[in-house]
Each structure stands twice: as C-alpha cells, then as structure tokens.
Symmetry: C2
Subunit: 314 residues, 2 copies
C-alpha cells in the first residue's frame, strides 16, 4: 500500500473535531479531496454553508468511497455502527482511524466491524473545546497538542506511519501507547476531572440558594468547572460508560482524598490541610514548568499578560 502525497480523506462526523480536521487539512493543503458526512441534515447544511469539505454526502458509505483515509469523528458509542456501515464501501488499502477519547473497548469493536484487509489505527488527539458543532471547528486546534495512537501489535507499519505523519503535518505531537495505558491515563487526567465538574455543577444546580446569586458569584472558582461541564453530553456519557472500570477506580481514589480533606476540616487539622495544599502546589508548578501552559494555551492565555490574568480567588 502506498499513500498518495495528497490523499483523498473522508470525515465521518462534522462537529468540533470533524470541522477542525477539515480546516486543518485544507489550511495546510494536506488533502487532494475532502468528503464529509454527518447524520444530521442541519449539520450537513451548515458544513456546506461553511465550505468545510469538497463534498457533503448523505450516507456514510458514499462518503468513504474512494477515500485513502477515513476519520471516525463521533462519540465512541457510535463508532462500531459507523464502522459496520462503511465496511463494504471502503476501497482496498484504505486506512481507518478515529479521534475517540476511549481506546480499549471501542477500538476492539471498530476493528471487529471492519474487513480484515483494512488497516485501522486508533487515535486520540488531546485537544478540544467545550463548543460543539461545525461552527466550532478551527484549523489550529491540534497545534502543539499531543495525539495518542494506540496501534495493535501487527498494525501495518506503513499505515501507522501515514497516520502519524498526517497528525504531525497538522501540528500535533504524536505518541504511541497501549490502549489500556491510554485509558488509565485519561481516566485520571481527563475523565475524572470532567466527572468532578459535572458533580460540582449538579451540586450548584440543585442548591436551594438563589440561582441568580450563584450565577453572579460563579467567578469565585465555580465558573471554571461549569466550562468543562459544558462539553458535549453524548460524548461524555459514552466516555464514562466505555471507560467504566478505569473511571470508577479513579473516582474511588478521588472520593478517598475528599474524605481526608473532610476529616481534616472536621478535626480543625490545619497542619494536615496546609501540608496537602503545599504539595499539590508543587505539582502545579511542574505542569507550568513542563510548558503545558505555554505549549497548549487555552482561551488565549498565551496572549494574556500577567497583569490581565484574573481568576477565581475566593
């Protein structure tokens, strides 16, 4: 199998990720032809209006016909059905990849749904915003962001290199990992924080305190959590259900930490609180030192001078 320098790429799903892929591939002239499909007629119409791809088609199998690469850009709960829908329409030598946030079980289902001769390279760009839909996409989304590939042993090497190269051309930093390592790591660094944000926001929503006051005072720290709790609900439902064991394990560890904090507050144990807060501050410094703030700026932080940096205090 040889990949053309500028391949024909099919994007199944034209939300934030699909639209960002379309814009990144177009902006960097990485593609000869770009086909797009979305299950919703409204999304298809919007993708046409935005000129995201060269052709917007109404059926997934028509979208992938003749494509060298196929990207599955949908919630992980829908990937198996999508793979099954396109299985017989894929051209020999086509490479299928995806952007799903869970890799173990979903990738197994996708692999099983595809013909044996099709190479599938599971992927996950660690990038996004809380925005959804085709209008949310932008060409720079993947720049300087990590993209994880979780190939099985035996994944055809040239296909793996082709997918890697495509992500690198879009500005991403590609690393390989086992599906299990990916799912454990993301359960801690992404899935658990989102679960906490959902829990916090639900706590506020169910409060008997003035709704208006809560909204007005959200600048005190709460607002940061509502932002990440604003992400796509279907996507996150699927993530929690498909990475259940790892998420529940991290949640149990988090609950234990909350219990330690609770006990320290109940017992007026200022020394324990202080020691805990000082140690987490060190981890923060490492994250800043590692350049994650600079390399992957969120919300224009890169542009903000120290003086314009205002945040939740209390």
């Amino acid at each position: 199998m040889t990949m053309p320098a500028r391949p024909h790429i099919a994007l199944l799903g034209l939300g934030l990720m699909g639209a960002s892929l379309a814009r990144a591939l177009k902006a960097r002239r990485l593609v000869r032809r770009l086909s797009g499909y979305a299950p919703s007629a409204a999304t298809r119409a919007r993708a046409r209006a935005l000129g995201l791809v060269d052709e917007v088609v109404r059926a997934p199998e028509a979208c992938v016909r003749g494509a060298d690469f196929v990207f599955l850009n949908m919630p992980v709960g829908q990937m198996e059905a999508s793979a099954r829908a396109i299985a017989s329409a894929l051209k020999p030598g086509a490479i299928v990849t995806d952007v799903g946030s869970v890799k173990r079980a979903p990738a197994r289902f996708v692999r099983r749904a595809l013909p044996a001769h099709i190479v599938y390279v599971p992927g996950h760009p660690i990038a996004g915003t809380e925005q959804t839909g085709p209008d949310a996409g932008f060409a720079e989304l993947f720049e300087n962001r990590f993209c994880v590939l979780t190939p099985r042993r035996g994944t055809e090497r040239r296909a793996l290199m082709a997918v890697r190269r495509l992500w690198e051309q879009m500005g991403a930093r590609v690393i390989e990992m086992t599906p299990a390592a990916h799912d454990r790591l993301l359960a801690l660094t992404s899935h658990l924080p989102h679960l906490a944000a959902y829990g916090l926001t639900a706590t506020a929503r169910r409060s008997r305190q003035s709704h208006k006051a809560i909204v007005n005072f959200s600048a005190g720290g709460f607002r940061d959590f509502t932002r990440i709790a604003a992400s796509d609900p279907v996507m996150w439902r699927d993530i929690f259900l498909h990475n259940r064991d790892a998420v529940l394990a991290e949640l149990a560890r988090f609950e234990a930490q909350l219990k330690l904090l609770r006990t320290a507050i109940e017992q007026d144990d200022g020394a324990a609180l202080l020691a805990s807060f000082q140690s987490v501050r060190r981890l923060r410094r490492e994250i800043v030192a590692a350049g994650q703030e600079e390399a992957a700026p969120d919300f224009g932080r890169r542009r903000a001078s120290v003086k314009s940096r205002r945040a939740a205090r209390s």
Copy 2:
C-alpha cells in the same frame, strides 16, 4: 465623621490583594497618602522596590497611625491578631475594612478586637488570581468584579457609604449581604470548587501512573483544576477552617452528587448520565448569558477569539 476626598489609606498586607489595592488606588488617584505594612521583610523590600506605596513601615501600629481607612489584607486566620495590634493606634474616625473570603466568624473577632468607637465594615472582593506576593498585584484586578460588604445592623451609614464608594471608584460592583448569606454562597461557588480542585490534584499526585505522563496529559481537563489548586495554601487553610460548617454541608451535597454519578456509571445507566449532563449544560449557558464570562474575563479570555479558544476535551 467626614472622609476627605482623597484619604490617607493604610494597607496591612502587601500580597496579591494589598498590592492590587495599592496599584488601583494609585492609578485612579484615589488616595492622598498610602502606607503599607507586611510581616515579611522580603515582602516589604519588594514593595519598596516596586514603589507600591508612599511608605513601607515595619510595624502595623505605625502603618495605621493617622490613616483614614485601614485595609486588612491577610488570611482570615490572622485578622483578629492584626486588629488587636492596631487597636490603640487607630485615629478617631478611622474606618477599618478587610478583604477576607469568610465573613461570619472572622468579622466577629475583628469587631471584638477593635475599640467601640472605630467603625468596621467587613468586605470581600470576588477577585484574585492563583498568583501570590507583591509582584502579582495589578490595578485592574477589581474592575467589573463583585465586592460584597457585610455590615452589621447599626454600622455607621456614612462609613459604609465611604467604603462602598472606594470600591466603586476602583471599578467594583458593590453589593451588601448578611455575613451568613455570604458564607453560605461562597461555600458553594468558591470554597467547594477549590476543595474539589485540591482533592483532584492530590489524587493525581498520589497516583502510581507516570508522573511525567500526567503532567504531559494535563491538557485534557486536569490542568484547569491544578490552576485553582495553586492558590495560597495558608489563605485556603484558613478559609476552610473558618467557614467549616457551610463548607462541610456543601461538600456533603457534592459527595452525594458524585455517588449518583458513580451509581449511574456502575449500572450502565446512560439515560441518567445524559439527563444530568444536559441539565448542567443549561446552567453553564446561564452563566455565559449573565455576562460573567465577559464582565469578568479570566486569563485574557476576553481577548481570545473563538478560534483561539482551545480547551480540555478529553
């Protein structure tokens, strides 16, 4: 008591808040004379080098001598001792205020430590960053931010108006509240989110997973939490201990919400997860609609176009 149009103001504490007050008061020419004190010699030297105030003094009682307004800018656990230290040096008619994040118990202690003829107006600007120290201060910190005043019944009206006017002149939106209402509201919108952030960061720190991988993958959502967990440890220890009952009550409500989420994940109850996520999304929209994102931009978000907005996704 009549306040001069441009009063002499004493700032006890020259960290983020004290330094921001100094810069705001100077930038807007609201002050005739500005005196500053900090317990640490290093902070005093830095405040001198930065030219934050007209005079940096080595003792709190010397700092407040002759001042019309005195701001207590220290962790709430230190306020009572500070009030006691200055009690006999305050000039008749001086107004004492503070910026503490808890208002019920600490304000009672401060009131008790001051002479009866001194008017004390407890305050709390809902503004800050995770930075600390005199270098972190900036003149715009309070612009468009809420500032809560929690006067007791009988607080001298002219003193209350004078404090209100000063905050308004620094750009803040002043509202009055009872100390109990303030502490309950902030327990939910600020203290609980910070506690969750501390718990999450501690969970990551104690993980057996690769420390480096956690740091590298913090862009997936975790990083936002480490930022708010980077705030001043002493300040936050004091907040949790001084607002114990309200914080523990909100923590219990949060733990109950986490348990509901846990059960839904354990039971593969996608419908419950989806319903919960959709409802919290609505709250987020209200916060955005209420202009909290625009009115109180954090980290330069105001400047960031939609296209440059990148955030945690998964």
